[in-house]
C-alpha cells in the first residue's frame, strides 16, 4: 500500500514559524467548521472515523472523547502527550518541528468537543530545543484569535520514559514522581487533579482537522478493517535511509524497510519500540496495523551481523532502568531478566534460564500495573520464539566455558 500524507501533509510545505503559510493550506478551516457544529456532532464525526490512538495502545479516540464529555464536572482537561520516549520513535519530534499549527488546531477542536478550557502539552525534557518554536506557534495562533475558548500550557518533563504512560504523565504534571496509577478510574472519568481528562498522542490529534474537513467516511475508506487512516513510522537502525514516513495502515513491513529505507541483509525488525514485537526476515511481508503489530510505529532494523542476546539484554536493561518501581512484577521482573540475560551474554548461562525467562514473562504480562511491565517481556518471548537456537547455543557455550575453568555445571 502506498505512501499517503494526512498527518505529515504540511510538513516541509509550510513554514513552521509563520502562521500565514499554514492559513494558505486551509489552516483553521476545520476549527471554524467544528465551531459551527455542536460538540456532540464533532465527537460523533471522530467516532465514526474509527480513529484509534497512535501512541501505541490504539484506544478509539472518539470513544475516549465521548467518555470524558459525558463525565460529570465543569472542569475538564485535554493533554497532548508529547513525551515521545519510546526507543526508536521520533515522529512526534518531526511533527512538532515542522507543523505545530495543525496540532494546535486539533487541540482547539478537541477542547471545544470536550468543553475543556485548559489544555497542556507535555513535552519531554529531551526535546527542550523544540519549546521555543512551540510557544511561538501558540502565540501566533492566539494572536489570530483562534484560541479564545482555550488556554494551552506547556509542561516539560524531566527525563522519564514512564511519563509517556498516561497516568504517570498526569502525576508528573501534578508535580509528583511519574508513577503509573491503579486503573480504574480511567482518565476520562478521573484524570488530572481528579478531573475528567483526555490524553491524546501528538499523531492522533494531527488526524483530527483532516477528518473534519474531509469527513469520517473519507477517513474510513483508508486502511484496514480495524485500523483506519495512515501511520507515521520512525525508521532507524541498519538501513541506508533512516527517517520519518507515512504509510496507509496495513502497508507491508518490507515496503517500509526495504523499498523506502533500503535495508539490506535483514535479520529481524523490531516494531513498536523497546517493548515492540520482533519480526524475523522470513515474515518481512507482515502488514503493519493494530490487528498485527504496530505500537508507536518505531521500526528498528537489525542486519545479519547483529547478536540477538546482545540486543535483548540491552533492551531489558533499558526497561529495568525506566521501570517506575511502583509494582513488584515490573520492578523485580525486569531486574531478574536483566541478571539472567546479562549472565548469558557474558557466557555464564544456565540450562534452566530459558524456562525462568518464560515463567517470569508470563507473570509480568498478567500482573504488572501498566503497559511497561505488561509488555516488557515481548522482545524476550519473541526472540525465544524465532531465535531460540541463539539462546540454546549461548547456554551450551556457557557450560563448556565453565568446564574449561574447572567449574561444575551449576
Amino acid at each position: 500500500m502506498p505512501v499517503k500524507r494526512i498527518v505529515l501533509k504540511n510538513c516541509q510545505v509550510i513554514d513552521p514559524r509563520d502562521i500565514n503559510t499554514y492559513l494558505e493550506q486551509d489552516g483553521f478551516k476545520a476549527l471554524n467548521q467544528a465551531l459551527g457544529m455542536t460538540p456532540e456532532a464533532v465527537i460523533a464525526e471522530v467516532k465514526a472515523s474509527s480513529l484509534r490512538g497512535r501512541g501505541g495502545a490504539g484506544f478509539p479516540c472518539g470513544l475516549k472523547w465521548e467518555l470524558a464529555r459525558k463525565s460529570t464536572g465543569a472542569e475538564k482537561y485535554l493533554i497532548c502527550n508529547a513525551d515521545e520516549g519510546e526507543v526508536g520513535t521520533f515522529k512526534d519530534r518531526y511533527i512538532l518541528q515542522h507543523d505545530p499549527f495543525t496540532l494546535i488546531e486539533a487541540m482547539a477542536i478537541a477542547a471545544y468537543a470536550l468543553s475543556a478550557k485548559q489544555a497542556f502539552i507535555y513535552l519531554r525534557a529531551e526535546y527542550h530545543y523544540l519549546l521555543k518554536g512551540l510557544v511561538d506557534a501558540i502565540d501566533q495562533v492566539k494572536a489570530k484569535g483562534f484560541l479564545t475558548h482555550l488556554n494551552i500550557g506547556i509542561r516539560e518533563g524531566a527525563g522519564a520514559y514512564i511519563c509517556g504512560e498516561e497516568s504517570a504523565l498526569m502525576d508528573s504534571i501534578e508535580g509528583k514522581r511519574g508513577e503509573a496509577r491503579f486503573k480504574p478510574p480511567y482518565p476520562p472519568s478521573k484524570g488530572l487533579w481528579g478531573k475528567p481528562t483526555v490524553i491524546n498522542n501528538v499523531e492522533t490529534l494531527m488526524n483530527i482537522p483532516a477528518i473534519l474537513l474531509n469527513g469520517a467516511q473519507w477517513f474510513n475508506q483508508i486502511g484496514t478493517e480495524k485500523s483506519k487512516g495512515t501511520k507515521v513510522f520512525s525508521v532507524s537502525g541498519d538501513v541506508a535511509k533512516p527517517g520519518v514516513c507515512e504509510f496507509v495502515m496495513g502497508s507491508r513491513l518490507d515496503e517500509i524497510v526495504v523499498d523506502w529505507a533500503h535495508a539490506q541483509d535483514i535479520k529481524m525488525v523490531q516494531v513498536g519500540g523497546a517493548t515492540g514485537g520482533i519480526i524475523p526476515y522470513s515474515m518481512i511481508k507482515t502488514p503493519l496495523a493494530f490487528e498485527t503489530v504496530l505500537g508507536s510505529g518505531a521500526v528498528t532494523v537489525f542486519d545479519k551481523s547483529r547478536d540477538t542476546l546482545d540486543f535483548v539484554s540491552r533492551t531489558i536493561e533499558f526497561l529495568a532502568e525506566e521501570s517506575c518501581g511502583k509494582c513488584t512484577p515490573c520492578r523485580e521482573g525486569t531486574e531478574v531478566m536483566l541478571e539472567i540475560l546479562g549472565r548469558m551474554t557474558k557466557g555464564d548461562g544456565q540450562p534452566e534460564d530459558i524456562q525462568t525467562l518464560e515463567e517470569l514473562s508470563n507473570i509480568m504480562s498478567i500482573s504488572s500495573l501498566c503497559g511497561l511491565g505488561q509488555a516488557a517481556s515481548i522482545p524476550v518471548m519473541d526472540t525465544l520464539k524465532y531465535f531460540r537456537n541463539e539462546y540454546e547455543t549461548r547456554i551450551k557455550q556457557s557450560v563448556f566455558l565453565r568446564s574449561l575453568r574447572g567449574q561444575q555445571y551449576q
Binding site: V87, A125, E126, Y161, G178, P242
Partner: protein, 143 residues
Amino acid sequence: MPKKLKAKGREFLLALLQEEQEKNGHISDQFIGQTAKSIGLSISEVYGVATFYHLLSIKPLGRNVIRVCKCIPCYLKSSQLVVETIQEELGIAPGETTLDGRFSLQLTNCIGACDQAPAMLLNHDLHGCLTPVKIVKILEAYP
C-alpha cells in the same frame, strides 16, 4: 524562593526543581529542605521527585552536561565510539565530571534522534550523525 511560587504549591514542584537544576547544576540538600518547607511537603517527598527524573541531579554537575544516547538505534550506529572519543578527549568516564568543572559525561536513554544516530544532547542542544572529528569540534564550542 519567590513568594509567587510559594503560593502555587505542589504543581510547580517539578518546575522549581528544573529551574534550580538549570541555575545551579544540581539540587542541593539545602534546596530540597527549603522547598519542602515552603510548599508544605515532607523532605522525603521532594527528595523522591528530585531523584526520580534522569535530568535532575542531586550531585553537582559540570557547566556543560553531555548526554550520549545509549539506546539500541544509536548503539547500532556505534554510540560506544562516541563515548570513547569523549572519554579520550576529556579524560572522564560516564558519570564523571572534569576537574575544571567544564563537562560532565552521562549516558542517557533514547533522545528521539534515531534518524541521526549516533546522537547526543549537549545541555539542551541536539548533535547527531556524530563522528570522532565532529565530536572534538562540538566540544570546543562549549567553554
